[in-house]
Symmetry: C2
Subunit: 880 residues, 2 copies
C-alpha cells in the first residue's frame, strides 16, 4: 500500500493546492515555484492534520518518518542542521488553513534554539545580544503556545529585569540581561510544567506541530469559523520554514513594498524599509521606517533585486502585489506576497496600465475594478489623512462632502449665500418651500427622514451632499442651534462638514479632495462600453444634471422628473394657486403661467441631450406636497385663535388649513398621485405635454436633434394608460401641427405598481416602453414605506439576517425580480417592439444591474454620478 504523501517541500506545491497545503503553504509553494527567493521549507498537509484528529490526537502512520525526511532534506538544502551548535538550523512553525483565519491560530519562531545552539547562533552572527534575544523570544512563544505557560509571567520577568537595570525599553537591555532573562524563563517553565524546557530540537518541533494542529480547535478559532461559515472538519496545514533575520546589522533589514502606488496607481515601487530590524520592530513603531526609494542608495543591489522581484510577482500573479520581505546580510528574502489593497483611483489606473503592459487583457481589467468604488472619484471627498472632529452620523443620502456655515432656514441660507458664504442647511426635514434654500446651500443635513425623504431626493437630483435622518442631532429652532450626543452645541454660523457618502458630520471645515477623472478612468469605461449590452441613461431633471450625465457617458435621460419644475420660489406660489383654484378657469390661468417656465426647462434639457432620448415623466407626487405642511398650519391657526388679534389672517389661514386637510392623505404613497392625477386633472398633464413639445418643436426648427418621450407614472391598469396615451398624443400632435414640425411621439409607462407588472401584457399593448420604477415597486411589493421602514425596522431586518440586503439598495430578486421577469416576458410577447428599462435607484447598483442584464432589459437609468458605475457594472454583467 502506497502511503499518501503527507508533507510537501515548497518546491513541490503550487497555488492550486490550497485545499491540501492551506492558503499560506500554497502561496509559499507558488512563490518558490516562480523562482523567487523564499526561505526554504515544507508544509504538512491538512489531510495529515485530519488524520491526526481522526487518530484521537496521535501521530498518523508515517507522518513522523515523513517529517524526519523533510527535515533532513531541509538541512541538506540549507547546509544547516537542527541542533548543530556550529550551523544551527532555526525554523518558524506556522499554521495555514484553507480559508484565511487571520490571528486565530498560533505561530512559533526561532525553533531549534537551545542552550548550545544559542551559542552557535551568537558565534555565526557575531551578535551575542541578538542570539540571546532570539532564544528568550523562542522560550516565551513556545512556553505560551506549546506548554501553556501564561504569557504574563514571561513579561513580568522582563519587567523585573528592566527595573533591576533601571531602564525603560527592551532595546536598552544587553546580551547579558537577555541571558539572565533566559535563565529565569527556563526556571519559570520548569516550575509551571514540572519539566525542564525541552532542549532537543526534534522534541521542540514535534511539540510545535502538535500545538499548531490543536490550535484548529481553540475557542477563538471555533467561534471565528462559526461566524464565517467555515466548515469544522477541514483541519489546518503546518508550515515549517527556515528563519531569516533582518536584524543582523546594517546589511540587513525588513520592509513592505507595493509593486505600484496603492493610493494613486502610479507604476512605481512604493513602500517602507527599516534597516537592521525585524518585522515586529516595524509594527512596534519604535523606529520610523524610510521610504523604499532610500534602499536604492543604501543597498542598490537589493533594490535592483526588489524591482526585479516586483516585476516578476506582478507578471506571475497578474496583479499589483503587497510584499513582505527581509534582507539578511545583503540577501533578499520574500516572506509573503498578496494582492494589494488599493484606492479606487489606484485600482483604475493599475488595471488599465496592467492591460496596456500586456499583463492582463481588457476583460480582466474591467473585472479588476469594483464599479461601486468609482463614485469615490466623482465627488469631492474628505481627505483621508485629515484629523476630524466627529459630531454625529446620519444616513448617507446624497454622496459628496461639503463644508459651510450652519443655517436653520432657507431664507437665511439664501441671504448668506448671496453674501458669498458657503452654508449647510440644517432642518428637521425639508419641504418644497425650502427648495431655494437647498439651491443656495453646499449641502443639507436633516434630523428626520430617510433615503427617499424630500431632502434626499432633491439633493441627489441637484448633486448636492446630503445627510438625512441624523436623529442624534437635536435642533432648537428658536435658539437657532443644535445639540449633539456628546452635549456640544452648534450655533448658527458655526462651520461643519458633512459627508453624504458616509453620513458623517464633522465640526469645522474638513480638508476636501477634488474629484479626479483620469485618462485611465475614461479608457477603462470605454473598454467596458464595447462589451456591455445594456444602455446606460441618466435620471436628470435639469440642464446642469443632463450635461453632467452626458459628461459621464449617459446615452440619454431615462427619467426626467417634472415635479421639480413646479418648485422654486418663482413657481411654487403659482402651483399653489393652481391647486387652491376654486374653478377651472382659475386653475387654467395658473397653468398658463407655468407653461413658459416649463418650456424653458425642457429647452435646456433637450439641448443638453441633443441627439439622445429624453424620457419625461409627467407629474407624479400628490398635490399636497406643494402646499404648506399641515402641522405647521395647525400650530399657526391655533396661535392666531389664542391671540385673537388678527382675524383676517386667521380666516385666510383657516381656509388654507381646510384645503390642506381635504388634500391630506393617510398613506400618500398609495394616494392621489401619478396617473391618478392625470386622470382626474387632465389639464395638468396637458400643459406639461404642451410645454415639452413646444420646446422640442422650437429646437427642432432650429436644427437641434431632439428625441422626447413621455412617461406616465403609477399606471396600474391598462385603461389608465390607454386614456392618457390618447390625451398625450392628441396634445402633442396639436402642438407639432401648430409649429409645423414633425417628430415621432413616444408614450410609455413606469411599471412601479405590482398590478402593472401582473398585467404587463395588457399594458404593453398601450406602451412604447416600460421603465421599472423599482423604488416604488419595492415599497409596494414588500409593503414597506421606505421612510418609515428605514428608521423603524429595516435596519433590524438586515442586521438580524431576515433580509440579505436592504431591498432599496439591492434589488430583491425572489420577489420584486420575479415581477420584473414576468413583466418583461409578457410585455415583449404582447408588444415585440417594447423598449424595457429601469429607472429606480437600483439602476445604479452593480448587483441589481447584473440582474437587469440577465433579465434582458434594454437599459438602466441612474443618477448622473452613478452613470460610470452603471457603465462598468453593465460591462461586467455582460462578461458574466
Amino acid at each position: 500500500m502506497t502511503q499518501v504523501k503527507q508533507i510537501y517541500a515548497f518546491d513541490e506545491g503550487n497555488a492550486g493546492m490550497r485545499d491540501l497545503l492551506g492558503g499560506k503553504g500554497a502561496g509559499l509553494a507558488e512563490m518558490t515555484r516562480a523562482g523567487l527567493p523564499v526561505p526554504e521549507g515544507f508544509t504538512i498537509t491538512t489531510a495529515a492534520c485530519r488524520a491526526y484528529f481522526a487518530a484521537g490526537g496521535e501521530w498518523p502512520e508515517g507522518l513522523l518518518d515523513a517529517l524526519d525526511e523533510a527535515v533532513s532534506q531541509l538541512e541538506e538544502r540549507t547546509g544547516l542542521k537542527l541542533g548543530d551548535p556550529d550551523r544551527p538550523l532555526l525554523v518558524s512553525v506556522r499554521s495555514g488553513a484553507v480559508f484565511s483565519m487571520p490571528g486565530m491560530m498560533d505561530t512559533i519562531l526561532n525553533l531549534g534554539l537551545n542552550d548550545d545552539t544559542v551559542l552557535g547562533l551568537a558565534r555565526r552572527t557575531g551578535q551575542d545580544r541578538f542570539a540571546w534575544d532570539c532564544y528568550r523570544r523562542f522560550i516565551q512563544m513556545y512556553g505560551d503556545v506549546v506548554l501553556g505557560v501564561d504569557h504574563y509571567a514571561f513579561e513580568q520577568i522582563i519587567d523585573e529585569q528592566k527595573a533591576a537595570r533601571g531602564v525603560r525599553l527592551d532595546t536598552e537591555l544587553s546580551a547579558e540581561d537577555w541571558k539572565n532573562v533566559v535563565e529565569e524563563y527556563k526556571q519559570l517553565v520548569e516550575k509551571e510544567t514540572k519539566r525542564p524546557f525541552p532542549q532537543n530540537p526534534r522534541e521542540q518541533l514535534l511539540g510545535a506541530v502538535r500545538a499548531v494542529f490543536s490550535s484548529w480547535n481553540n475557542q477563538r478559532a471555533v467561534v471565528y469559523r462559526k461566524i464565517h461559515g467555515i466548515p469544522e472538519d477541514l483541519g489546518t496545514a503546518v508550515n515549517i520554514q527556515r528563519m531569516v533575520f533582518g536584524n543582523l546589522g546594517d546589511d540587513s533589514g525588513t520592509g513592505v513594498v507595493f509593486t505600484r502606488n496603492p493610493a494613486t496607481g502610479e507604476a512605481k515601487l512604493y513602500g517602507e524599509f527599516l534597516l537592521n530590524a525585524q518585522g515586529e520592530d516595524v509594527v512596534a513603531g519604535i523606529r520610523t521606517p524610510s521610504p523604499i526609494a532610500q534602499l536604492e542608495e543604501t543597498m542598490p543591489e537589493v533594490y535592483r533585486q526588489l524591482l526585479d522581484v516586483a516585476r516578476k510577482l506582478e507578471r506571475h500573479y497578474r496583479d499589483v502585489q503587497d510584499i513582505e520581505f527581509t534582507v539578511e546580510r545583503g540577501r533578499l528574502f520574500l516572506l509573503q506576497t498578496r494582492a494589494a489593497k488599493r484606492t479606487a483611483q489606484a485600482a483604475v489606473k493599475a488595471a488599465v496600465d496592467l492591460a496596456k503592459e500586456g499583463i492582463i487583457d481588457r476583460v480582466e481589467a474591467i473585472r479588476r475594478v469594483d464599479p461601486d468604488s468609482l463614485t469615490q472619484l466623482l465627488h469631492r471627498r474628505i481627505d483621508e489623512a485629515a484629523d476630524l472632529d466627529r459630531l454625529a452620523k446620519g444616513l448617507p443620502a446624497s454622496p459628496g462632502a461639503a463644508s459651510g456655515r450652519v443655517v436653520f432656514d432657507a431664507d437665511e441660507a439664501v441671504r448668506r449665500a448671496n453674501e458669498g458664504e458657503a452654508v449647510i442647511l440644517v432642518r428637521s426635514e425639508t419641504t418644497p418651500e425650502d427648495i431655494h434654500g437647498i439651491v443656495a446651500s453646499q449641502g443639507v443635513l436633516t434630523s428626520r427622514g430617510g433615503m427617499t425623504s424630500h431632502a434626499a431626493v432633491v439633493a441627489r437630483g441637484m448633486g448636492k451632499a446630503c445627510v438625512c435622518g441624523c436623529e442624534s442631532v437635536r435642533i432648537d429652532f428658536r435658539k437657532r442651534e443644535f445639540l449633539v450626543e456628546d452635549g456640544r452645541t452648534i450655533r448658527e454660523g458655526d462651520v461643519i462638514t458633512i459627508d453624504g457618502g458616509t453620513g458623517q458630520v464633522y465640526l469645522g471645515a474638513a480638508p476636501l479632495v477634488a474629484p479626479v477623472l483620469s485618462p485611465e478612468f475614461q479608457e477603462l469605461l470605454a473598454w467596458g462600453d464595447e462589451v456591455r449590452k445594456l444602455s446606460v441613461l441618466a435620471n436628470a431633471d435639469n440642464p446642469e444634471d443632463a450635461a453632467k450625465a452626458r459628461e459621464f457617458g449617459a446615452q440619454g435621460i431615462g427619467l426626467c422628473r417634472t415635479e421639480h419644475m413646479f418648485l422654486g420660489p418663482d413657481r411654487v406660489s403659482i402651483v399653489q394657486r393652481m391647486i387652491l383654484a376654486e374653478d377651472e378657469e382659475e386653475r387654467g390661468r395658473a397653468l398658463e403661467e407655468l407653461l413658459p417656465l416649463q418650456r424653458q426647462d425642457f429647452v435646456g434639457i433637450l439641448r443638453a441631450m441633443a441627439g439622445l432620448p429624453v424620457t419625461v415623466r409627467l407629474l407624479d407626487p400628490p398635490l399636497h406636497e406643494f402646499l404648506p405642511n399641515l402641522e405647521d398650519l395647525l400650530v399657526e391657526v391655533t396661535q392666531l385663535r389664542e391671540r385673537g388679534d388678527d382675524p383676517d389672517r386667521l380666516r385666510e389661514r383657516e381656509r388654507l388649513l381646510r384645503k390642506v386637510r381635504v388634500l391630506h392623505e393617510a398613506n400618500p404613497m398609495l394616494g392621489h398621485r401619478g396617473c391618478r392625477l392625470g386622470i382626474t386633472f387632465p389639464e395638468v398633464y396637458r400643459v406639461q405635454v404642451r410645454a415639452l413639445y413646444e420646446a422640442a418643436a422650437e429646437l427642432a426648427a432650429g436644427g437641434v436633434s431632439v428625441k422626447p418621450e413621455v412617461m406616465i407614472p403609477l399606471v396600474g391598469h391598462h385603461r389608465e394608460l390607454e386614456i392618457l396615451r390618447a390625451q398625450v398624443i392628441e396634445e402633442a400632435e396639436r402642438v407639432l401641427q401648430e409649429k409645423g414640425v414633425e417628430l415621432p411621439i413616444k408614450v410609455g409607462t413606469m411599471i412601479e405598481v405590482p398590478r402593472a407588472a401582473l398585467t404587463a401584457g395588457e399594458i404593453a399593448a398601450q406602451a412604447d416602453f416600460f421603465s421599472f420604477g423599482t423604488n416604488d415597486l419595492t415599497q409596494m411589493t414588500f409593503g414597506f414605506s421606505r421612510d418609515d421602514a428605514e428608521g423603524k425596522f429595516l435596519h433590524a431586518y438586515v442586521q438580524g439576517g431576515i433580509l440579505d440586503a436592504d431591498p432599496f439598495m439591492v434589488l430583491d430578486e425572489p420577489g420584486v425580480g420575479r415581477l420584473i421577469r414576468w413583466a418583461v416576458q409578457e410585455g415583449r410577447t404582447a408588444n415585440p417592439e417594447l423598449k424595457v428599462g429601469i429607472c429606480g435607484e437600483h439602476g445604479g447598483d452593480p448587483r441589481s444591474i447584473t440582474f437587469c442584464h440577465n433579465v434582458g432589459l434594454d437599459y438602466v437609468s441612474c443618477s448622473p454620478y452613478r452613470v460610470p458605475v452603471a457603465r462598468l457594472a453593465a460591462a461586467r454583467a455582460a462578461l458574466g
Copy 2:
C-alpha cells in the same frame, strides 16, 4: 327562390325566437302557444326591419304581400275586418326589440278607426263617448308618432274644449265634446301635414309600421343603445295585435297581478284591479284600484280564470309572474307577463315553495336567490313604506338601520345610554379612544373616512350600523351641532336615523322593520350547504360576534383580530403605558396587566366556537393607533404654550407629543405593523400567545373542545414567519406544559403583502395555513390606500369605466387574483397539507367567492352578517 318568412302569427312563434321576434313578440307568442288568452296578432320580424333599412327605407320584397296576408288571417280569426264599419278590426302597433329598451320607441293604439268605423265601434259597444274618445286618442298618437304633429297642439285643443264647456277633467267631457275634438284634430293634422288625416286603415297600418321601424333610429333610442352597449344593427320587430278594451262597462276592467306576494313570497294572488278602465287610467291615478281579492266577488268567473292562468304561467315560466290583464265584457285577456320583481324575503320563500311544489328543483331554487340580497334579511331595516326626511348621504359602511339622539362625543354617548337613551355617535372620524362611545351607541355617523376607516371597521366588527365619510355634514363641535346641505341644523339630542346599508341619513326616528329569519331561509341555506365545497368561517373578535356567526352557520372563526382586545376604556391606558414604557421592565408590567384581560376574551370566544377552529391573528396595527391623535396633541400643546398657565401639564403633553412624533409614520399602512412588530417587540406576541393558550388549556381541562390556531399578519419574507412560528410554538408549548394539557399547535400566516404571494413556496414550508388578507393585498397590488382612494379618485375610476368594479368590493381577478392563484399553486406544491382560505372583505362577496371556489380555496371567512351570503354564494359557485 323561397321567400324568407317575414311575419309570424303569435301562434307560430315561441320564447326561443327572441332574436327574430323581439322580446315582446316572443313573449306574446309563448303565451299564445301555452294556450293562454292573448288577443290575436302577429309580429313583423327584426329581419324584415333590417331589410327595410338595407333597402334605404323601402318595403322589402314580399313584405307588403305578407302583411296583407297576415291581416286577412287576423280578420278571419277575430271575425272582424279592418275598415268594416259594422265589425271594425282595431289593432295596436308596437315596437319590440331583442333587448328591452323601455319607453325608447313608439306605440300606436286603436289603429283602424276612421270617420266610418268610429260609428261602427259606437254601435257595437253601445257607447258613443267611448268610441269618440278612442278615435281622438288614435288621431293624437298617430299624428304625433307617424305624422310628426307636435303633441302640445293636440293638448291645446282639448284644453280649449274643456274651457268652452267650463269643465276641468277629461272625464267630464261628453261624446259630443270628443266629436268636436276629433273634428279639430283632423283640421290640425291637415293644416300641419297639408293632407287630410288618412282614412284608409291599410294606409294607416303601413304608416304605423314605417314609423315603428324608423323609431329604431330616433335619437333617444340611439343614445340608449350607446349607453347600454346594444348593437346598432339589430333592428326592431313590430307587433300588431287586436285591441281589447277594459272600459266597456262594469263587466270590463284592467289590472296587474303577481302570482305570489312580491313582498313576502306568500303563495297567494296579489295585485290590483280597476273596474271599467284602461291601463292608462290605472297609471293616471285618478281612481284608486281595488285589491285583486275583490275581483272574486265582482267577477267570480274571471277571478277563477285568473287563478288558473297564474298557476299555468308559473308552471310554464317556472317562476313568479307579474301579469298585466284586461277584462273585456267578462272575458279575460293577458297582455303581458314577466318574472316578478320581489324582495329578498319573497325571493327566498318563493324559491323554496316553488321547489317544494315541484315546479323547480333545489339547484334551481339556490340559483334563484341573489346571495347579496340576504343581508337585507339579517338587519333591522327602514320600512320601505315610510315617508322619510332625508338629510344627507355618506358611504354605507356597516349594514343595518338605527335611530337615536345625536351625540358628539363618546362620553356623552355613554352618559345618555346609561340613562336609557338610544344615541347615534356623530364624529368627524373616530379613534380608539371613542370605542366606549361606539359600544354605547346604536350607530355611528362620521363626516370623514372611508369603508376601512376606524369607525367602519369597528362598527362592522360590532354589527352596528355605520355611515362614514358623509362629507356634506359639517360638524361644529363647539356649538354641538351639525349642518346639512340644505342649510338645516341638527343639534345634540335631535333624533336621526342612519341606514348603514345605503348610507342615507334621515331626520327623526324612521320606522324600522325587524329581521326575519324564516324557515325557508334556513332551508334554502341547508340545501346550499349540501352542494358547496368551500367552508364558510366568520371574522369575529368577541364572544357575541362569535355566537352570532355560529347562529348564521359559520364553521369556525377564520379571523379573530386581537387589536380590539387592546381597546376599551379599561385597556387603552394600559396599552399606552406599554407603548410609552421607557424600559423593558415597565413594558413587561403593562403586558402582564393585559394578560388576564385577553385570556378572558379568548375564553369567551373559544367557548362560543367550541368544537370549531378559531384562527387568532396576533397584533396587526401600528402602535401609534393606540395613542392620542398627533394633530389634537399639537393643538393642545400650542394652546398650553400660548396660555403659559400650566407648565406641568405642558411638559407632560410635550413629552407625549415627542413620543407620538417618533411613532408617527408617513405611510402607516406600509409601516411598522404586523409581524414587523412581532419581530421588534417579541414580548407583545409572546403575551398574546400565552393568553390564548392559557384560555384554551383552561377550557380543554374543563372538557370543552377547543381548536385555536395562530395567524401571523403581514408576512412578506419566509424568515419572518420562520422566526415567529418558532417563538409561538415555544411559548404555546410552555403554557401547555405548565397546565398539563395537550393540544395541537397550528401556526399560519396572512398572505396580504404581494411579496408573500410571490414567494409563497418558501413561506408555505413554514405554515400550516394561508389566509389571503385581500383588503391589504388589494391595497398593495394596486398601490391604492383605500381610505384615500375612495374619497379622491376611485369613484371616478369606477364611474369612468377604468375599473369594472371597486376592487375592494369585488376581487380583481387579473391582478390580485393572479397573485392568489400563484400562491395557492406554489404553496400547495411546497406543502401539500396547507389549508388555504381568504379572510378579507371579499370573503363575503358572491362574485369573489365564485373566484375562491374556482381557484380551489378550502374556506372563506367573512363578517358574521355575511355568513349566510357566503354559504349561498359558495353553493352557487359549486353549481357552476
